[in-house]
Amino acid sequence: MTFNSPGKTYKAAVDVGGTFTDLLLVGDNGLTALKVPSTPAAPEKSVIMALAEAGGLGVPLIHGSTVATNAILEKKGVKTAFIATEGFKDIIEIGRQNRPELYSLAVEKPDPLIPSDMRFEAGERIGPGGEIISRLTRKDARLLASAVKKHHAGSAAVCLLFSFELPGHEEILLEELEKLGIDVSISSRVLPEYREYERASTTVLNAYISPVMRSYLERLEKGICTREDKADLRLMHSAGGTVSSPTAMKRPVDLVLSGPAGGVIASEWLGNSLGIDQLITFDMGGTSTDISLIDHEVTITRETKINGLPLALPMIDIHTIGAGGGSIAYVDKAGALKVGPESAGADPGPACYGRGTRPTVTDANLVMGRLVPGSFLGGRMTLETKRSIGAFKNLLVGETVEASATATLEIALSHMETAIKKVSLERGHDPRDFTMAAFGGAGPVHACELAERLEIPRVIIPLHPGLFSSMGMLLASPGRDYSHSVIRPLNKKCVNLLKKLFSALEKQAAEDMKSEGFSKSNLKFMLRVEARYLGQSHGVTFTVVELDEADIRGRFEKAYEAAYGHLQPGFEAEIVNAQLSCRARAGDIPVRTHECKTRSKPRPVEKKRMYFGEMVNGSVYNRANLSPAYPVSGPAVITQDDTTTTVPPGWRLAVDIMGNLDLEFMK
C-alpha cells in the first residue's frame, strides 16, 4: 500500500499477520494505510515501527494480535499448575476420552499443556445444587498454595466441580495463591458454565498464556506511548468487541481469533451500510480461508478448539480451512489430483512468484488467464506465467496444462464450497438467502464462481479487500460477553433465578466497563438464553427481551424450529445458560463517498482469453477506472493493488457510491 500523510490522526488500528503488519489510520485526510513486514520474534516491533513511521505514536490504538494464538500453538506459555477437586486432577488429560483420529493405530491425544506432576487436588466437593459436600478449609488452601509455589509455577489454573454454582472454594484458592505472587485464573470467573473438562481446558489456556500476554502488552505500551500521551491500547477479541489492555492481560484467552474477527465485524458494518441482513463472509488469503455467517447478527460459537483443546468461550464462528492462493496441487498414490492443505506460503510462494516450482491455486488462475501478470501488487511484482505452466506440465501424466490447472481450480472451489456449507446448510441456513462479502488477497478471485455453485445471487467486494480486517478493528465496539450456567427446567422459579443472574452479570459488566472509562449510560446490554428440551444435551441460543416465562418459551420454540425444522411437543424446556453481551457505542470512522476518478465509460485495459468453465474472450479493467454510472458485464477481470476480482459470464458488476463492487448473477 502506498502511504499518504494522514494529517492529524485520531485513531489507529493495527493487524499483525504472519507476513505483514497492516496499519490503518483515521485522520483529517480520512483513512490511510501502511503495510510493513511483520517481526515474528518480537511482534511489538513492527507495530511500533509502523506507528512511528506514520506519526501515530500516542494515538488511541486498536490491535489485532496473534500473540495469544501463537503462544498456544507453539506451546510457548509459562509453567502452569492445575488445581482440581480431589479425585479429578487428570480430567485435563482424559478430556472426553475420545481420540481425534478414528482410524489411526497410533492413538494421540491433544497435549494438555500441564504435565501430571504439576496437577494438584483440593480436598473439597460441591454438589449440583451448589451444596457443600466437603468444605475446603483455609488451612488446606494455604498448604496447597505453598506446594504450588514450591513447584515453581508461574501461573495457576483452578477448576473445581460445580464452582459456577458456588465459587467460594475457588476464591479462597485465588486469594492464597495470589498472596504468594502467582498469576491465577479461576474457572468460575473465566467461564462459569457446566461441563468440567471444557471449563478446565479454557481456564488452563488462559493461565498458560497470561504472563506471556502481560509482558507483550507491557512492552508494546512502553513503545507506543510518547512524552505527552500515555498508551491508549485496546485489543480486538474473538467475539468481535474490544477490551482494554489490562483486561486483555487478565483474559488473554479471549484474544485467540483477534485477527480474523476484524474481517467479520467489517463485513457486518458493510452489510448494515448496504441494508443487507444476511451475509456469508469469505476471507481468502495465501494459506487459509476464513468463512463466517452473519444472519441479522454475527454468529457466535462456544465450541472452538485450538490445538485440539476446547475453548468454550463465545467466539465469532469462523470456519478456517487450509485452502488459499498458495495451496499446492499434487497427485496422490491412486492418481487423483488433490489441492492443499500444504501451502507454498510466502516463501517460496507460488511458482509464478519466481522461486517455487510446485503448482498452486494462484498458478492455476494465472495459467487460465484470470490474473494479469503485469498488474499484480500494483505492478511492483510481475508474475511469471511460464513458471506456472512449467509447474503444471509435470503434474498429471497425459493431461494438458490447461486440464490440470482447471482441475486444480475446481478442487479448490469444492473445498471452499464444503466449508461454506458447513457454516450454512449444516446449521439450517440456505445460502441462496445470503449475499457474499469477499475479501482478503485471494477472496475476490474466486468469489463469484463459488457464489454461483451455492446459488448465492450477490457478491460484494469492499474498497480495500486486503485491509478489511484492520477496518473491522476500527469499527468494533468496546465491551465483552458474560455468561452463567443455569441448568433448571423452565418455570417461574427458574425465571426468578435468571433475573437474579442477569442482574448480577449486568452489574459486573458495568463495573468492568467503568474501570475502562465507560459510563453505564453509554452501555448497551443484550440478553441471550441457551435452552433445550429437558433431556437433550445441545441447546439453541436466542435473544430475550423480557424475562417472562411465556415469552422465553415462545422464543425457544421459534429458535428450535428454525434450527431443526420441527418441535418436540410434550417435552419440557430447560434453561442451560444465561448470556449477557455488553457493548459501548463504537467510535465513528470517516467513510466518505467514493470519489470516482472518471465519469466516462470505462475502457478495458486489454482483452484476453480467460477461463470460466471454458475459455472465453473477456475484458480486463482497472478498478480505479470503473464508474458507478457504467456497470460491467462478465466475462471480465478487475485489477487493483491488493487483489483481482473475476467476473464470470452471467454476472454483472456495478460500483456503488461507497466504492464497493456489487456483483449480481443475472441469469
Binding site: 479429578f88 475420545n98 489411526s104 489430483l337 478442487i411 472451489l413 464444503t418 431443526y564
Partner: protein, 521 residues
Amino acid sequence: MNNPTFTLEVFINLIKSAADEMGTVLHRTAFSPNIKERKDHSCAVFDARGKLVAQAEHIPVHLGAMPETVKTVLDNFRLEEGDLVILNDPFTGGTHLPDISMVSPVYIDGKITAVLASRAHHSDIGGYAPGSLALVSDIFQEGLIIPPVRLISKGEYQYGTEEMITANTRSPHERKGDLEAQVSAHTIGEKRIRNIAARLGREVMLSRFEEIMDYSEKLTRLAISNMPDGKYCFTDCLDDDGFSKNEILINVEVKIEGNEITVDFTGSSPQVEGPFNCPRAVTYSAVYYVMKCVTGAEIPANAGAFRPVTIKIPASSLLSATRPHAVGGGNVETSQRIVDTIIGALARALPHLIPAASQGTMNNLSIGSLAGTSGKPWSYYETIGGGAGAGPNREGASAVHTHMTNTLNTPVEALEYAYPLRVNRYEIRRNSGGRGKHRGGGGGIREIQALEECHATILSDRRSRGPWGLEGGEDGKPGKNKLVRNGKAEKLPSKCNLKLKKGDKLKIETPGGGGWGKLQG
C-alpha cells in the same frame, strides 16, 4: 447456472457431507445420552443396490454392519418413495438390540437412486435390566426385537409401529424423541442427495457412485500389495462369558496374497451362553476397521474399499451368531477382541505399524431404576476408556477409547444434574500400562456412588489377562471392578448384574495398554 464438471474429489466431499449432516442433526436433537453426548450413532449413503457409497465417521463398530442392514431391507421390501423402514433384529441386519436402524430410499425422476441408513444406540429397549445390556442368556431377555417393518409408508406414519416400540421400553417419552431425531436425519439426508442430483443429473450421479467405489478399491489394493505376502496366525481370548469360567477363543489366519487379503476365523469358539455372540455384521465391522487402519484412513469408506477383502467365519459360531443367542456384548466387547486378534496376526507382517494390545474392552456400565425417588424411570449407560497399546514410535495414550469405539464420556457435571449418582473419582490409573521401550497407556479409574437404590450391569473384559505387549514389551495390567459397601471393598466379576443400595460405590479400574519393545537399562 452452468453445470461445472465435477471432479471425483468434489463429489466425494459432497456425498460425504450429506452423511455428516445426517449425523449432526441426529445427535443435536436426540435425548439418549448415548446419541447426544456420546455420539454412538452412524449415518451412511448407499446406492440403489445397497452398496455403501459414503459413511460419516462416527464410530467404527457400525462400519461393516450398515451394509447388512440395507441389504436385508432391499431384499425384503419394494421400497416406495416416502417409505422408511425400522429394525434392530441382530439376525436380520442388526447388531444388538439397543442399536435401532432406519433405512429409506431416495427417489429421483421416479426411480430409486440412493438409499440412506442411520443407526443409533438408544438408551433402553426393554429386556431384563435398564439399559438393555444385561448379563442374560438369550435374545428375548435382552429386549424388544424389531424385525424390518415400515415406520413410514409413502410419507405416512404407520400408526402402531412407533407406539409398539415405545410401549416396550422403560423410557417411552425419550424413545419417541430419539426416533423422531433419527427420522429428521433421513429428511435432511434426502434433501441433500436431491440437491446433488439436481446439479449433476441422475445418470451422472450413478456413474460417480461407481467411480468412488473403484477409486477406493484401487487405493486399497495398492496398499495391500505393499504388504509382505504370507499367512499370519494369532489367537486371543475373552476372559469368560459371565456364566462359566472358560476362556472364549478367537482364532484368525490372515492371508496376504498380492493385492488381496483373506481373514479366516476358522477355529474360533462356538456360540456361548452369555451375551457375547457376534452377528456376522459385527465381525465384518471389526475386520473393516482394521483394514481401514492399515490401508490408510484417507481412503473413502465404501463398498469398493472392501472388495479386496474376503472374510471367512465358521457358521453358528461366536462370530456368526444365530437366534436365539444373546448378542448384547458382541458389539461392545467381542468386537474389541476380534480387532486384537487380527492386529496380533498382522504384527508380524507390519511390525513398523502395529501397536501392542489396547485395553480391549469398552467397560460397559449401565445403571438405572424403574421408579427412582423422583418417581421417574432413569437409565444411565457409559463406556470407560483405558490404556492404548504402545507402538513402535510412541507411548500409549491413557484413559482413552480405542479401536471399535470412540464415544465421549458423560461430563461429571452433566451426569450429576441428570441422575441420582455422584462421581467420586475420575482419573488415570497410574503405572497400569505395560512397561517396555515404549510404555503402554494407563487405564482409567471411575468411581460412581449411588444416591438411591438402583440396578447396575457391568460388561467388561481383560479382567484376568492384561492386554498383551509386543516385541518384548510387558502386558498391561488387567482391569478390576469393585463394589464398596459400608467402607468395605468387594471384588466383582468382569460381567455381572447387581442391585446397588443407597451409598454403594462402584469402582471401575480399566486395563492398561500393552508395552512395546524391551525395557532398556
